[in-house]
Symmetry: C2
Subunit: 369 residues, 2 copies
């Protein structure tokens, strides 16, 4: 039992988080989820420790549902049948570090390449793993500059290449092309290549858009990660990482203590997030994901158009949910929680309403007058 002043503090936290939840537009996190019928699982001591595909000693787990989630995304990402393994992570950072870890175990003397528009978790990952790296220039749309990649790779042509491809980038939702990346590296004379696709935001819908971006297993990726709390939506960060089994076997160890293999980064893992992701994909299905994407995309198009009509130079990449615009003022950045570097952006995620974007457009354009 809380003392009354603590109860008040807790209630105030809820109110302030709820208020902030109603007006964020600058991060690619879905708002429109309803997992209330899953809350009952919060009464259990869930833990998905060990490998999701192996029985383990601890049984208060949701491994079976985790496997369903992995299988769903393996198919969506055109994985060769039965040759891909994966698990539900605590978010995009874990997925990126895991992909880089598998890459380093395969090619310890590799150089890692990634564009300057890449999420900050990747530079943290290469530092953690002691991977030498080279930051590649980006095109103005956020996509990797393949000529610069070629030049950089030429300088280290005798060494394996690990490339992180963004699907899409954090600020502009630019999408790197894994087929082009492989072609560039082959032309340079590098055949030892590992590509990790960071599909944090676009993973669930990238396979469904036309033209389909080149990023999946059939397009030459060795590992792919996506975030669960971004497009699909979740009350806490989570994600999925998938990789060829051959890569994973290099880091696998049998652990008596858990009666399973230690193949993941986290060891003890959230049993609740796999159930949420399962619930999301089973409720929506591929068609539902596509429909929700299209609704978001229409609202993103409308928002960019409306800003342009009002004299704000907003733009977006083809099929992107991210609307890029000049840096917004601090008061707007604070209220609407607008991620801002040299540019600002809005991300139209599931649950974002026209009322919200209209209010923001109004705020931005009134300031600009």
């Amino acid at each position: 039992m809380l003392e009354s002043q603590d109860q008040k503090k807790l209630d105030e936290l809820f109110s302030s988080m709820q208020e902030a939840n109603g007006c964020f537009l600058g991060y690619p996190f879905a708002k429109g989820f309803d997992y209330e019928q899953l809350w009952r699982f919060m009464s259990l001591t869930g833990n998905n420790l060990g490998d999701p595909f192996e029985p383990g000693t601890y049984r208060v787990n949701s491994h079976a549902f985790e496997c369903d989630v992995i299988d769903f995304f393996a198919r969506l990402f055109r994985a060769p049948s039965c040759e891909v393994w994966g698990y539900v992570t605590n978010g995009g950072t874990e997925g990126n570090i895991y992909g880089l870890y598998l890459a380093r175990e395969l090619y310890p003397d590799a150089v890692a390449y990634f564009s300057r528009d890449t999420h900050y978790s990747v530079s943290k990952g290469v530092r953690l793993l002691g991977l030498e790296h080279s930051v590649v220039r980006s095109q103005s749309n956020g996509e990797m500059d393949y000529d610069d990649l070629a030049q950089r790779a030429t300088r280290s042509r005798t060494r394996p290449a690990v490339v992180v491809a963004n699907i899409g980038t954090t600020m502009k939702e630019g999408k790197d092309d894994t087929l082009k990346i492989r072609a560039v590296l082959h032309d340079v004379g590098i055949s030892a290549i590992y590509i990790h696709s960071d599909a944090a935001l676009c993973g669930p819908y990238a396979p469904l858009i036309n033209p389909k971006p080149a990023f999946d297993f059939a397009d030459g990726a060795d590992s792919i990660t996506l975030s669960g709390h971004k497009f699909l939506g979740a009350p806490m960060p989570c994600g999925v990482v998938l990789s060829h089994k051959l890569h994973v076997q290099r880091v696998m160890r049998k652990i008596d203590y858990i009666g399973s293999s230690d193949t993941t980064l986290s060891g003890s893992r959230n049993a609740y997030t796999p159930i949420m992701l399962w619930y999301a994909i089973r409720s929506l299905g591929i068609e539902g994901i596509k429909q929700i994407f299209q609704q978001c995309e229409r609202l993103a198009a409308y928002t960019a158009d409306e800003l342009n009509v009002r004299g704000v130079r907003a733009w977006r990449n083809p099929n992107a949910l991210t609307v890029v615009l000049p840096p917004v003022e601090d008061s707007i950045k604070t209220k609407w929680q607008i991620a801002t570097q040299d540019i600002s952006h809005l991300v139209i995620t599931p649950g974002t309403t026209k009322q919200q974007t209209d209010a923001l457009i109004e705020a931005i354009t009134n300031r600009n007058r």
Copy 2:
């Protein structure tokens, strides 16, 4: 909306997890928690991204509560005032890897020492970080063999030493002594020392027992981690890691995208688990933690005695909640989810009942007849 066969599958998962939750005794996870009044937070897109002690652009966070949790444990672990920093992790593995990461950034050419009874996350961490390591023998009670540490450290006396101290070990709850570890290393002639205390299970109660084990900041630890889902209890893995600010500053980077510093391993982080940990420590207070520990300890003592009376050679370390016993049969291991290596163990956590331990004692001793 789920289709009816999926709804059935979900309900069956809940039933089977609930059944398993009612009869696990082999993992150190509390069962007796009630966070139902926090479930409402699951409707929000919470994310504690960035540094808990800095304001960031995204406001649907529980940073203020996270800071309260860090301050509570900083005081409990006798941190020098204002010189310790921390954050809420996704569990013990993240805390251990984080501590080892800080250690490696301070001493890149260190040798890492840890006993063979150490949790498997530590050997994963040194591999991930490329830290050379030496596995130290253990005493029969699970505690590090300090003579073996001295011999191993002597062989690398010109290099810094990173030591992971267990408070307590995974299988036997043996407690390594950080004062002895420092003394041994000093005697060997090593002055560049970093000690990480892995207090996953015992962290919340170790400061309250008599004699107090030597493991905290005043006892020479550089970083300390504890798990939230173990003694305090949580429906998902979580934990706390604390370290001297000087160590953390070495890995800190300013990230415009989040309007904060990237000081943590995870980046995007769970906003829900800090609220749970806050709720637990504010409801219980130090006195409540002490009382619950004493209840558990009495039940552990009773269980060990009762097994001995019935001819099973069970034992436990002083003040331990872990009862060590010969390996149990597979059917018992499966039903009661008993972690088993060359030995088995039960862990009497909050929420464990005498009915449960009696049922297990009955199962074990009936088999032994």
